[in-house]
């Protein structure tokens, strides 16, 4: 088990236990993190699980693949260099303590 920190729209932080192998989107949805929709159930089809990865954590993640990069070009909120789709980030021991920020909108 690792932990992951979600910075919510109101600026507060919610910290959740993260099962290794689960995606950040799954952890957020199961943990009822507001602002992460995951409408397609994690198949990289809807771009409603957009998150901003904390600057310090960006290099800990494998870069997005072509499909995710393509989807990121169409997210609802502003796309930043640290934008990712939460469904495409699989939690692991290496990502313990990952911090992501929820954008102001997903649709």
């Amino acid at each position: 088990m690792s932990v992951i920190h979600f910075i919510l729209k109101d600026g507060s932080t919610r910290t959740l236990q993260a099962r290794h192998g689960a995606s950040v989107m799954e952890i957020a949805v199961l943990g009822n993190v507001p602002g992460i929709a995951g409408e397609c159930g994690g198949s990289c089809a809807c771009a409603t699980c957009h998150v901003y990865v904390a600057d310090a954590d960006v290099d800990r993640l494998a870069p997005p693949d072509d499909m995710e990069t393509d989807m990121l070009s169409a997210v609802a909120a502003e796309r930043l260099a640290c934008s990712r789709l939460a469904c495409q980030i699989a939690m692991s021991a290496e990502l313990d303590g990952l911090t992501v920020r929820v954008p102001h909108t997903q649709s």
Binding site: A22, L30, N32, E39, S43, A45, A47, M67
Partner: protein, 412 residues
């Protein structure tokens, strides 16, 4: 007495009504009844990742168990509603008890249409709708070598793809002359057919199943109308659905010809304080070829949108549905995404080439983008939803020109 908001049906629409109502500040009691043993779970993986082994059942819940307590939603599972008395605002449950409601939301969805064929009751004949259906099918496929899929719609084709991926020989039998005939234009049907054939799936279109053949009580083959016999040790039927509305229609709620409860764009039925959403409801869509004709889109998005409209009524800030319908399917690693609702006489324009990794089909109606079907073009699909919503005006030549930036048509 403050009788509860009672939601009958615990899947996408039901859960979204409860969740959105709380989000919008609805403070009254909420009771959600589900006739399955499972708390609300994701359904798309049932015919995709779960069947191919990429997704585990533990990944399926739509919310953590604590969600229901936190949000004060009383979830009653294994609970079937059998009757409705609108005058008394009362539900009759299968255990003989009655339940009073203040507001009723009907989100009972649909069930798989059963095969009406000789041999349909043989062992080894499956349908796929619920998690229990999926688990039974997965158990049955452990030893299956040849599977006959009846129905070349989305469920049938996703099952065929998932099983073929596991090395099982699959034949798909479709009564229409082409796959996905109700949903996509012929060019896309042809592309999907080719995709399946190259992955070893046998396709038999324009054929009717006459009978299922059995041996010692188990299915062993399928007999077709042209006399062909297909050997198999498992049959999966994906021939559409029937809405779970009989109990509600007996109370006099108006329904369409298929038995789906008619609602307006706020999810309201003909009875006051009775709402319906999801696969058991039919709602007019401004994006349908006939905007006044209620349609049932049979999609998560439609269930969620209908649910949000109902929740908006509950808090007195009604916000009707009108979003662009969208839907997706995964087959053999190919991502198919659809935005809008095509009509048979739309002008179909290809953007890209079908031989490329990805392309889109644009359906133009009176010079405007009415629907877009994309293959492996997820960003174009998301743009397409905006284009359909804006009914973007564009000519076929520009659509076909890959160097033409379609986003330009949004702000002329």
């Amino acid at each position: 007495m403050n009788a509860p908001l009672t939601i009958v049906g615990a899947s996408y629409a039901g859960l979204q009504i409860a969740a959105s109502a709380r989000e919008l500040g609805y403070d009254g009691p909420i009771v959600m009844l589900g006739d399955e043993a499972h708390a609300p779970y994701q359904r798309p993986p049932l015919s995709k990742g779960l069947l191919s082994g990429k997704t585990a059942p533990g990944q399926l819940p739509l919310r953590a168990p604590s969600f229901y307590d936190e949000q004060r939603i009383e979830l009653r599972l294994g609970c079937r509603v059998e009757s409705l008395d609108i005058g008394q605002r009362s539900l009759g449950l299968a255990d003989g008890s009655a339940l009073r409601y203040g507001v009723l939301a009907i989100t009972t969805g649909a069930r798989a249409r059963p095969l009406a064929l000789p041999g349909a009751d043989l062992a080894g004949v499956h349908a796929l709708r619920t998690l229990d259906d999926a688990l039974a099918l997965i158990a049955a496929t452990e030893r299956a070598q040849r599977v006959a899929v009846i129905g070349g719609g989305f469920i049938g084709l996703e099952v065929a793809a998932a099983l073929a991926e596991r090395g099982i020989a699959v034949s798909v039998i479709e009564a229409q002359p082409r796959l996905l005939a109700r949903s996509v234009p012929p060019l896309l049907s042809a592309y999907i057919a080719e995709l399946h054939r190259t992955r070893g799936v046998e396709l038999l279109c324009g054929r009717q199943v006459r009978e299922l053949r059995g041996w010692q009580g188990r299915v062993c083959g399928v007999g077709l109308d042209d006399g062909t016999a297909i050997e198999c040790d498992l049959v999966v039927a994906g021939i559409g659905v029937l809405p779970n509305t009989e109990w509600a229609l007996q109370a006099g709620l108006p329904a369409d010809a298929a038995g789906r409860i008619m609602v307006d764009t706020l999810g309201r039925t003909a009875a006051s304080d009775v709402f319906a959403a999801g696969d058991c409801a039919a709602m007019p869509s401004p994006h349908a070829p006939q905007p006044d004709q209620p349609v049932c889109l049979e999609s998560i998005q439609a269930a969620n949108d209908g649910a949000r409209a109902i929740a908006s009524c509950l808090v007195g800030r009604p916000l009707p549905c009108g979003a662009v319908p969208w839907f997706w399917s995964d087959q053999h690693g190919v991502r198919l995404q659809m935005a809008g609702l095509p009509a048979a006489d739309d002008e179909v324009v290809l953007r890209g080439r079908t031989a490329d990794k990805g392309f889109s089909l644009f359906m133009l109606r009176a010079g405007r983008i009415a629907a877009v079907h994309s293959v492996n073009r997820p960003a174009e699909h998301l743009l397409a939803r905006k284009l359909v919503a804006a009914r973007a005006q564009v000519d076929a030549h520009s659509v076909a020109d890959l160097s033409f930036d379609l986003a330009r048509t949004l702000d002329p």
